[in-house]
Amino acid sequence: MSADVKLEDVWIRFGSFEAAKDVNIHIQEGEFFSFLGPSGCGKTTLLRAVSGFLEPSEGKVLIGGQDMAGIGPNKRPTALIFQNLALFPLMKVWENIAFPLEVRGVGKAERRKRADELLELIALPDQGDKMVNELSGGQKQRVAIARALAAEPDVLLLDEPLSALDLKLRQHMRTELRAIQQRVGITFIYITHDQGEALTMSDHVAVMSQGVIEQVADGNTIYDSPQTAFVASFVGENNHFQGKVTAADGDMVTVETPSGVLRGRNIERDGKPQLAAGDQALVFIRPESLRFVDGEKKRDNVLEATVERQEFEGNFWQVFLQVKDCPRVVSLSMVNDGSSVGHDVGAQVKIGCDAAHAVALPVGQMAAE
């Protein structure tokens, strides 16, 4: 069984503080949906409203089309995986997994059987008789998932469950989680501040900032066509140049910045282009879109710059440049193809990109560096 989740005009207030402002989201059944945002943006609050630990101040939460108002967390078809997992330390692994069955009055033999099946699913067979503190971080993680699945929820909620794991394990668990989701086929709602997790696992991502949903889209769209300055600056690395729109033609705009004239895509929001001539705008260019301009090949946007320093990152080079009349250091990344960057520190160079790789957006709140 799987169910869709709908948040309709949800506001959540704590005193005068607004943790969620007019949230409208429809999460399809059986999809892997992520809320992505910096800490304190209200994503966990939204999750608690879905799981039933708090009631929205305004608006409705619907699960499988049913209004959840007044229904407690133990009556909702959801299971939550806590940030610290909240496994029961005084119980054995299998007792942890079988807890949802125990409270429903399922007999012991049946519980044990089901726990063993779930241990099989999470690839931890024969570990049921261990105590929880005898497991490693990744194993605990999987036990928490098995325990939640034992409750047979329609919607599984995950509150940054991977944040406590080290990098290698985290990357491994991402694939694992995605595989489990596809195997059981229920709706996963995933909370994270790690964009890598959100982009790799999710069917759809909602980017949140200060209680507001900035954009809901699949990972590609979020990355390539951010709709707000916050999304552009929060997801991935981005260079930005501020200026004034001098011309808006079709889906492209021309922006005059102190560093030079830049052309970029005019991103639509709610079906309408956001920029018109005369507006203040920010042009975002990703480091991997920037190239050194070597004379013969024409680029739409060309900037004059001085190489400040170079960092070798293994699979690519990161070059930091001082661009004329731009207060910030601009970064450019090159795939490491065995050759060097080709420019020494202090060299005068020209960098540029195609207009299709530049994004022009209205001036707005940016993600903290």
Binding site: S51, G52, F53, G72, P73, N74, T78, A79, L80, F82, Q83, N84, A86, L87, F88, L90, F99, P100, E102, V103, R104, K130, M131, N133, E134, L135, S136, Q139, R147, A148, A150, A151
Partner: protein, 460 residues
């Protein structure tokens, strides 16, 4: 180098002094329980004996008090532990702003003197009893009921503190997780919170029991006609004590040490298990599939063996040859007493002779004065004489049963020792306060003989 050594010496001195201060009284008291002397004292050491344990086990008043203390202790545990748990849980539920107020209110019984709690409990339930027109043998006037209620008022606050400190370490996410997984609130409490609080419940119960067991201030008012260990002990101290009280104390100390040692063994076992779990989780070692049974713990067996061996040794040493020793001591005493009495008699005879001469001279003088004759005889040493003389044949009385407690007080030894050998008096400890009351010195002092007394008095 030397300054370092001096510092080390002072640290050692301080540490030794500190432990002496802590355990000195306990050690002295422990020794008195094995001395056959009728008054609890270490010096002079008479005979090693366990007879006071025997006396203790036959003291019905004390044993009844002990039994009542146990009953009340269990009653307090049953009442104060749930009350404290409820108070602590409430603290986690009330709103942030109310919390300091709530805390102050529930903790205040600890700050109220026990005497006040005792009196107010008594008065309160008396009023309620009057209101319901209850008779004098109803619950409202029952010493057990009132003592349990009265002690619980402040002991519940102690247990609450234990629960609060445990609850502070509780991850409330576990409660939420249980709820989220479909458990009801009752199930969450029973299956998640209660198992977590189990160690705190155990320590709160022990704390409540001990606090109840040793309580006097409140109990003395609420117990009414019921006697508890503390009230019996208090009345004993008032009417004269013997070393059976030390024997009781030694028993309690031994049981406490035994309990603490066993607790420590179990704690270490748990810690070792936790360490092993860590290693298993880290993949360093395999999990040991079978665990040792708790009664196979070598440390536990060791402790029990030491306890049994100590008990046996004390029993044999304390019963073998005690009678012979006592007879020898008595004989020794008798001889000494005889000697001292003779000395005293000689001295007093000499004194009397001297005094009579002086008296004769004064009487001649005084006979001219009228009205003072009646008082002369009060301070006369003649009054003393018969007493000192008469007690000599009374020595065998100490063998009479039932009078032992009083022997030491009116013992001729006391009279003898101090009137005859004053240099010995400062050496004795503990009995001085009582000796001085019936001291012949006091009498002698008044009879006008002041030679040699300054030495004896400075010793006191």
């Amino acid at each position: 180098m030397t300054s370092d050594r001096i510092r080390k010496f002072f640290v050692l001195f301080f540490v030794c002094g500190f432990f002496l201060y802590l355990f000195g009284p306990l050690i002295i008291m422990g020794l008195t329980a094995f001395n056959s002397s009728a008054f609890p004292r270490v010096a002079p050491w008479e005979c090693f004996t366990v007879e006071w344990f025997d006396v203790l086990s036959n003291d019905t008043r004390l044993l009844t008090g002990l039994r009542n203390s146990f009953l009340i202790g269990f009653g307090v545990v049953l009442f104060a532990v749930p009350l404290g748990l409820a108070g602590a849980l409430m603290l986690t539920q009330v709103r942030e702003r109310v919390r300091p107020w709530y805390y102050t209110i529930v903790i205040s019984p600890i700050l109220v003197p026990g005497v006040v709690l005792g009196i107010s409990t008594l008065l309160f339930w008396d009023r309620i009893g009057v209101m319901f027109g209850a008779s004098r043998d109803s619950l409202f006037y029952n010493g057990f009921f009132l003592t349990i209620i009265g002690q619980s008022t402040f002991i519940a606050a102690y247990t609450m503190l234990v629960f609060i400190s445990r609850l502070q370490r509780f991850d409330s996410a576990q409660e939420e997780a249980a709820l989220d997984l479909g458990a009801t609130h009752v199930q969450t409490f029973r299956k998640i919170l209660l198992p977590f609080l189990k160690p705190a419940i155990a320590s709160a119960a022990v704390l409540a029991f001990l606090a109840s067991f040793e309580n006097y201030n409140t109990t003395v008012f609420t117990a009414i006609s019921t006697s508890t260990l503390t009230t019996v002990l208090a009345s004993k101290v008032r009417y004269g004590i013997d070393p059976s009280i030390s024997a009781l104390a030694v028993s309690i100390v031994v049981l406490t040490v035994l309990g603490a040692a066993i607790h420590e063994v179990f704690k270490r076992r748990e810690e070792a298990e936790a360490r092993q779990a860590g290693l298993v989780a880290a993949g360093v070692m395999e999990r040991k599939s079978t665990q040792k049974q708790w009664f196979l713990e070598p440390a536990l067996i060791m402790i029990l063996l030491v306890f049994i061996a100590g008990l046996g040794t004390a029993f044999f040493a304390g019963t073998m040859g005690v009678e012979e020793c006592k007879v020898a001591v008595r004989e020794q005493k008798r001889i000494e007493t005889q000697k001292r009495i003779e000395e005293l008699q000689q001295r007093q005879q000499a004194e009397r002779a001297a005094q009579q001469a002086a008296e004769e001279a004064r009487r001649v003088e005084r006979s001219q004065r009228t009205g003072t004759e009646n008082f002369n005889s009060i301070f006369s040493s003649d009054n003393l004489q018969p007493q000192a003389g008469d007690t000599a044949p009374a020595t065998p009385q100490s063998e009479r049963a039932g009078t032992e407690n009083f022997n030491s007080i009116f013992d001729t030894q006391n009279l003898q020792q101090q009137s005859g050998q004053q240099e010995e008096a400062p050496a004795r400890t503990g009995t001085e306060n009582f000796n001085s009351i019936f001291d012949t010195q006091n009498l002698q002092q008044q009879s006008g003989q002041s030679e040699g007394q300054s030495g004896g008095q400075s010793g006191q």
